[in-house]
Symmetry: C2
Subunit: 140 residues, 2 copies
DNA sequence: TTACTTGCAAATCGTTTGCGATATA
DNA sequence: TATATCGCAAACGATTTGCAAGTAA
C-alpha cells in the first residue's frame, strides 16, 4: 500500500475542476490555464499541470493522450472513443459504445495480458469540411 | 499540385531503411540512430529524423504515433493495430484484422468525415507479466 | 553543376521539477 | 502548526530547424 497523501481542495484545484466540468471540448492544459487565469490571474501553468495530474490520479477527471497531439483533459472519467479533426485538431466523443469484444478477440491470440484499449478516429470536422471541400491530407 | 522534389537515395537514407526492414520491433528514432551509427559513426540524429519523415511521406515506411509515447517507425506501411506494454513500452502488432466496420458505425452517426482510425491495446507483455505478477498500474 | 542532403548546434515546445513562500486542514 | 500546495523560473526530452559544407544525379 502506498502512503496516503492528504489532498487539499485549494482554490486553484477547485477552479480547474470547475472549468473542466463546464465544457465538453476536451481542452489542453494551456487552454484550461487561459480560462482559470481569468478568475485567478496569478495562477501558473505548472500549477495547472500538477492539479490535472492529481485529479486524474484520483479518478476525478481523465487524461486523454492522443497520438501525435497535446494532452487533453476530460471531466468525464469513463473510457470512451474520440474523433479528432486532422485539420483543426478539434476533439469530440465518438458516437460508438466502448466494447470489450475487441479486447477479447486480441486476448485470445496473444500472450500479453490485455488491460485496456483505445480507439481514435481521424477525420474532418463539419467546419473544416466546409472550408476545404475535397482538400484533405491523404496521410497523417 | 505541390512542386516535386528530386529525392536522392543517400547512404544514410539507404542504411536507415535497411535497419528498419531488419526488425519488427517498431524502433524509435533514437534506437534507429544507435543501430545506423554502428555502420556510419558520423551520422546525426537530425538526419535520422529527417529521413524517417521523408520515407514516411513517400509511403516507404510508417510512422506510428502512440498516445503518450515516443514516435515509432515500421517498415510495414499498411495500417494495423498494436499492443503496447504499459510497463516496458514494448510494441507489437495486434493479432486482429483491421476492420472498417468501426469507421462505418461511427460515420453513420457523425457529421465528421471519417478518414482513418487507430486502435491501441495496452497490457503487460509476457516478460513483465512474469517479473511482476499481479502488480500493474490500475490507471494509465 | 545543381540543389538535395548532411553534420552540427541551437531552437522549439509541451511538460516537469526545484525552491522558498504561502495557505489549507 | 504541519505539510500540501503555490508561483516562479529553470530544466527536461523528443523533435525540428538554420546554416555552411558535402555529395548524388
Amino acid at each position: 500500500m502506498p502512503k496516503e497523501r492528504n489532498l487539499r481542495m485549494t482554490r486553484q484545484r477547485q477552479s480547474i475542476l470547475e472549468e473542466l466540468r463546464k465544457t465538453d471540448a476536451h481542452p489542453s492544459a494551456d487552454e484550461i490555464f487561459g480560462r482559470v487565469r481569468q478568475q485567478m490571474p496569478r495562477i501558473s501553468l505548472g500549477t495547472v499541470y500538477r492539479n490535472l495530474e492529481i485529479l486524474s490520479a484520483q479518478g476525478e477527471i481523465q487524461t486523454i493522450e492522443m497520438a501525435g497531439s497535446l494532452k487533453r483533459f476530460d471531466a468525464i472519467a469513463t473510457n470512451h472513443y474520440h474523433i479528432r479533426c486532422v485539420n483543426c485538431d478539434r476533439l469530440v466523443d465518438a458516437p460508438l459504445e466502448v466494447s470489450n469484444a475487441l479486447e477479447n478477440a486480441v486476448q485470445a491470440h496473444t500472450d500479453f495480458q490485455i488491460l485496456d484499449h483505445k480507439v481514435e478516429f481521424e477525420g474532418l470536422c463539419p467546419e473544416c469540411r466546409r472550408a476545404k471541400p475535397g482538400a484533405y491530407p491523404d496521410s497523417v
